[in-house]
Symmetry: D2
Subunit: 438 residues, 4 copies
């Protein structure tokens, strides 16, 4: 009845009454698996599908279920955080523990140390037993109390350790790499028909996971980046022909750079991976920059770390998580700009800002913090209901269940013809394009 | 073809090419009025409507149009802010001016002083001529550079003044009262067939406008309220049997109280207008509070200003904007709690926080600031295209056009059976209800 | 050899080598009791005293001593916080524990609950055993983990409980009332010749302790108050003839009001207890206010809670700490202003801000936080050296020992003829005085 | 009568009544040049000097004088900012303008663009005419509205331009280099006997000017640096054997590094120019680091940019201001640490933070903001009184006049045997020294 790649896997028929059934007395409506959110909520699509008799793709709504798969009394749970830091990790951990403990009476909650590495016997890292007292205030600090890491661990090793620890549900909090590892694990579990659920919570500061409207950490990231852009603006204004250059996160997707630039309007140029640009030539950045200095005596450039990778020769290097090693576009721009103005005999001063580590280590904004806890509670509901191989998402502002396989099927990027990029163009006044005619 | 109350009024056929047509060369896709967002984006609704051959209600998408109604060269525009302060007002004013000036080359932009009062001859308040230099940095400050006011002004007076000033588009930034006044004005203009557009931008810190997913100022408001709740928690912890009581905004809708309570998890009880509660009796707040002090020695209560109005006898008093004067539930709770524990012979200390004025006077958070500018740019596109009697909104994360008449047809409130209130119940652990059995 | 009231009491001759003697190898110079800081550091006073052969008053310098009175191995210590909350309490507690534990190897550190009330048997409040792990992060939160209270407890009761717990050093963190109680206790101990040290750390957000240049919490308080003044300014600007009225802490001394007004320059009138003013009449505040509204259409007033008490009839009421109950000058001004303009037929809007509880419950600023830890470490050095009946202070930017009796001998107030008040007059441009000629 | 190098130069006998004489009616006491603050305020020094009949060195107190040198009616003033950015520059500019304009009725106030470069004819930079409206809100932003620059300009050129512009008082806001240039200029003016006053306001984020207790920008700088240290701590905790390395400002003096490390207690090692250390060997940093990782699995290092310069071979390079070009100790440490643990076969992760540009471009904290305005008002009083060749300072918490020649006679550094460094040692628990025995 539905596009199959949108269907959530299940460990089996839920056989226990949820301890949350009491909510029903208060008028709460429990969601069923039949309640779904349309992928495309446009009237045009409605008309087309309706006319053609097509059932359009849709996501299962998240939320508590009346019947659950695991018996709360004996359920054992593990939580891990993987990949780079992102604001909100501790919020998610906290809310997972609180929800499991107080709402489902699950008290065996293990925190795996340093991501998937914590499953390796040789690291001798023992899981932490988590409870409400331990996590009560952790969300006021950035980072993750569990520690994180990059690096591949064989799914067989993970599964063996899960079985040893007698874990029923594993919550993995991480980005693209973590979702891939989680899927591999879930596939192995399914193949072996173990009743172990794998539920992911999408952590990517870059906001680049497909079929998920926004990921936690992203709002905090662009909000905090605003300070650096303002700082760059102040430095640019403080010197004759001053240029402020800010490198922000965004390996493949320019969401942070675009949003941060929109927030306080100090940026004049935003460079993102999705929109190629030339440095030199008639319509290149350097020419525009030169004209702007003539007219306004200062300029601010925001560049996503993944922008302009086409300037470099790819040698295919990868980090421990298997991510392609990016070339340093920030330093490259910095050097090219200095070289250009030196050649042109134009006096100028450039200041370089790279606030990435600072941003990702800070606590989440209130709005992001709420989102983290919402995701975590939805993850607990899903796990207890016996769903698996899925990641909690959001679509049309509603919390959803997204199959892991679907979520990693492609990367979400800024649409150069969409409304976000239009906003950037209109707010910054930057040239509509900076590619030379070929 | 569509439910008529969702259709946007228009001043006539757009006869000018938009100066934004250049965007097309860059691959930008201009929206047409046929592109619409479904009100109900659930699969269930799709199936039902599709089966029954019903076309479901939907909103027109906002965005630039290829053809516009007003000739940019001579267009004259007025902007006003009305009602109580809200974070983001200056962001909206700034973005309106920047967009009109730089994108549509409209240079006659008048700022009406102190809301609709600025149209009264007797106030002798002259409009400010606004330009990019004046508004460049105003978003770094809270409040509104135009000033605001409450109080009814006859639409005839407003219209006469608009005609005198030869205004083509009036942008009104305000809440429920402002939208009502704007509709009355738009109706009068329509009756007289003047080519004057009235476009509203929804400012309500309470987030209580129907058919609009969120309003600007709201995220900032609940984000800033978090500090007061933390402060109340600290005060409560700092004294034996300490109680912290925080009154927040929310005349009819508990969004701010609910979201603020979710953000940092220091609240134990959240009281909102939509969820009635008893003070006394077996299941009343005071009894729960007493038990909590016994168990935990401290408690934090967050109350929306509109909660518990049923405790008072309504005398029908109204303020200058025509809003019902609310009774002071905060002070009432404060006194009732003190009285209760005094009678019960239980030592305790209570501290009262009312941060409302402080919150509403602060600048917008980065995320809210972006939203303000997005709304403003969409308002400019709509106004230039000759649309009228509408308010810019957001639905399913997409900017929309909402008829003023529809927007004021009912008030948006927190659904006591919905996911936001469920989050509050799960995060605070407060009793599922606090009404005595009758 | 010195003015006797500046001499610090001692429990006896220090008989143990300090564990800090290792510092000497590093070149650190240990202070001796002979190193003192002049009370009056002016050249004029030098010349006068030198000519007349007078030895001017001076304070003993704080810091580690080579020989200490208590044997670290067995020393038992108690800590309490008393009176209203102030930013930095947890910083002081944290640094006391860290310093005692890591530098002097003192591991028996008891936290008395809820101030002196924690000594009352009937409260059944058991002391907390404190260690580095417990206090590690407490400074990131406002308030006091020990709890606080007002209310007198007989020194005999306190002493008995100290003896029961076998306490060697009691650290009391509090303001004027706490210092008085500490002195009473120290006097009783001295009379009975017990080897128990009483060391105070001066907590008064009002900065009103004599012979102490600044107290912790004060800088944080006025820094945070700035936001409220800015908010009042925004509200005042946002309405026609808008007035923002901010009530700040300052029972007897206007330091917070004065400094907060200086910080961002939004205040037009600063009212403090030390500078009497009239409301009505030719030169009264209301007349000045009226003129200012005519000229500028808005005004911001900052009033210390202890200002204008002469407007009320004193009934001699006192709170649990024995402090005189102040009349509410904020509400009084609010009502008088409304009444005045109503009578004068002048339209205006007034908004009232009272951020006191919010301010005092927040964590300390970095600068204040450093100061708290400095005071705490100095207190530990003093206690271990066997000094008693003293409070740690600061004079000429140097940490000092101040006899409790001296510190409470009078209250520190803003000098209406001094440089702070001059700055206020020059920065605000408020009238040189607002008293009518008599 | 006084040590001659402490005596302030004067343009001549003040011949005009100050417009501030009205203050006298209010009881304000005007300072005279005879009121002075002792350099050494210790009792020991009093006794020694008194016994030996020596008059100890002292500073002239700042403040308004009854009689002034310049006739306010015609006085023309210039202001410039020079050197690197520092929080508070705009506060100083604002307060200079406000004080000159409103208190002394001086309305010819010129802002020189981009520091001393603004005096060069070839730059064609015209001075800005400053007034209260222009500067009203500039303190809410970082940086300097005048712009700044490095680079030497001949005093003759400056003087000629001052005479052309008919300037009576030049206020220079800058650090060591600016004070040197100001002295050179003042010397030239004195030689030529022009009645032009040169008054400096000490801007050095590093707090390294001698005979001046603290400089503006410094408190803001270390306060803001705290966030980076916390971020480094979070990153260090988030990875197995995580190391956070933070490079902070401090070319010759470690004040910022020391104070920032004290503020939130996340630093384990603080490295400053004044305290040499070894990297390798038995007692070197790397060995200590290795041991700490074994014990605690994470470490945070704070290094001042001027620390460890002895590891490099000085090639005597200098920047445009004539400052010695420092070697990059941050990157050096980063590489050495990675190399060390790689050689030792110990897995670890290191994250590097360099927040300097961000910090220096932000607005001043409230406390620093007050200080800036106090300095500026004192500078205006001094200039109007005809003092010259001096810098406004602070000593024993009192605003003072310091001869430029004295201020640049040596650099202020952290005393490795003093109380600040003791606090660092006690608070961080870092080794008493990290030099190998030789």
């Amino acid at each position: 009845m539905n596009n199959s790649e949108f269907i959530i896997n299940s460990l089996g028929t839920p056989g226990f009454d949820s301890p949350l059934l009491v909510y029903e007395d208060m008028g709460f409506t429990f969601h069923t698996d039949e309640e779904r959110v349309l992928l495309d909520a446009s009237l045009e699509n409605f008309l087309k599908c309706s006319r053609d008799g097509i059932i359009p793709p849709s996501f299962e709504k998240a939320g508590p279920r009346k019947n659950i798969f695991f018996n709360p009394a004996g359920t054992r749970v593990a939580i891990l955080t993987s990949g780079g830091l992102s604001p909100g990790l501790n919020d998610v951990i906290r809310a997972l523990v609180m929800q499991l403990y107080y709402r489902y009476n699950v008290t065996k909650i293990y925190g795996i140390r340093y991501g998937f590495q914590g499953f390796l016997k040789e690291t001798q890292l023992k899981p932490l037993l988590l409870d409400p007292q331990i996590v009560e205030k952790i969300h006021t600090e950035g980072g993750t109390i569990l520690g994180s890491s990059r690096g591949y661990v064989e799914p067989e090793i993970i599964l063996n350790r899960l079985l040893e620890l007698d874990i029923d549900i594993l919550f993995t909090i991480g980005g693209d790499g973590t979702l891939r590892a989680s899927l591999e694990l879930a596939d192995l579990i399914e193949k072996n028909q173990y009743p172990v659920s794998v539920i992911s919570i999408p952590k990517t500061i870059d906001n680049d996971i497909s079929y998920i409207e926004k990921t936690f950490g992203y709002e905090t990231a662009f909000s905090l980046a605003v300070t650096s852009i303002s700082g760059a603006h102040v430095e640019a204004r403080g010197a004759f022909n001053g240029i402020g250059l800010v490198k922000l996160m965004g390996r493949h997707s320019g969401y942070i750079a675009a949003s941060a630039a929109l927030a306080h309007n100090d940026a004049n140029y935003v460079l993102i991976p999705e929109v190629p640009f030339d440095l030199k030539g008639e319509n290149g950045l350097l020419r525009h920059l030169e004209n702007r200095l003539k007219a306004r005596e200062h300029a601010v450039i925001v560049v996503a770390e993944g922008a302009g990778q086409e300037f470099f020769i790819d040698r295919g290097e990868r980090d421990a998580s298997g991510n392609i090693k990016l070339f340093d576009i920030g330093k490259h721009l910095y050097n090219e700009i200095i070289q250009h103005f030196k050649s042109a005999g134009i006096e100028m001063t450039i200041k370089y800002f790279d606030p990435s580590y600072l941003i990702r280590s800070l606590p989440a904004t209130p709005s992001d913090s709420i989102f983290c806890a919402d995701l975590a509670r939805a993850a607990v509901h899903a796990g207890m209901a016996g769903k698996t191989s899925m990641v909690v998402g959001m679509w049309n502002t509603i919390l959803t269940h997204v199959p892991l396989r679907l979520a990693i099927s492609r990367r979400k990027t800024v649409d150069p013809r969409g409304s976000l990029w239009l906003s950037v163009i209109e707010a910054t006044g930057q040239p509509l394009n900076m590619k030379n005619k070929s």
